[in-house]
């Protein structure tokens, strides 16, 4: 059982790291602001989400697990809000032709 949970942690955390890598590459390589924002939100939500899911079975007790989920929920909520605000600012900076 323990080996199975370890395997789950390794798979999920590695996929999370992959999403972070993809987000960074997208942030550096994509051509304009809105596409870069799109790459960033994948790293934010999915990358951190997979890391949290991977760490959940290793949490000591229900409270620690709930705290991990809390971090993820907070990041999802703030990520969604902040993406809208950043996109609006980007449009004001450079209005679409």
């Amino acid at each position: 059982m323990s080996a199975l949970l370890d395997l789950w942690t390794i798979v999920a955390v590695s996929s999370g790291a992959l999403f972070f890598l993809a987000g960074t590459v997208g942030l550096l390589r994509f051509p304009d602001t809105l596409t870069r924002l799109h790459a960033l939100t994948k790293a934010d939500n999915l990358g951190l989400g997979l890391v949290v899911l991977g760490l959940l079975p290793r949490a000591e007790g229900l409270l620690a697990a709930a705290k991990l989920l809390c971090v993820w929920l907070l990041v999802i909520l703030s990520g969604a809000t902040v993406s809208q605000l950043i996109a609006r600012t980007a449009r004001r900076e450079r209005p679409p032709a």
Partner: protein
């Protein structure tokens, strides 16, 4: 397992540090704030991984605080006069 988690935390930090190149290249302020946003999330992930590796529960609290503060940076940017 500890080594794997610590290595993943290090990889996370290196990845988002490379993302900071976007701050140098710009071109707009919004692009620069996005790099900071990625740094915040990557920092949270690294803290959670390091906390799980060392068994220090306090690091999760630090990650929670960082999540809160990272949200405030971008909101402050969007609301700043002239931004």
């Amino acid at each position: 397992m500890t080594e794997f988690l610590l290595a993943a935390a290090g990889l996370m930090v290196v990845t988002v540090a490379i993302g900071l190149l976007r701050i140098l290249r710009g071109p707009g302020d919004a692009d620069r704030v996005m790099a900071v946003q990625l740094l915040g999330t990557g920092g949270i992930a690294a803290l959670l991984l390091a906390g799980a590796a060392t068994g220090e529960a306090a690091r999760v609290d630090v990650a929670l605080t960082l999540a809160l503060l990272a949200a405030f940076t971008s909101i402050a940017f969007a609301k700043a006069p002239g931004a």
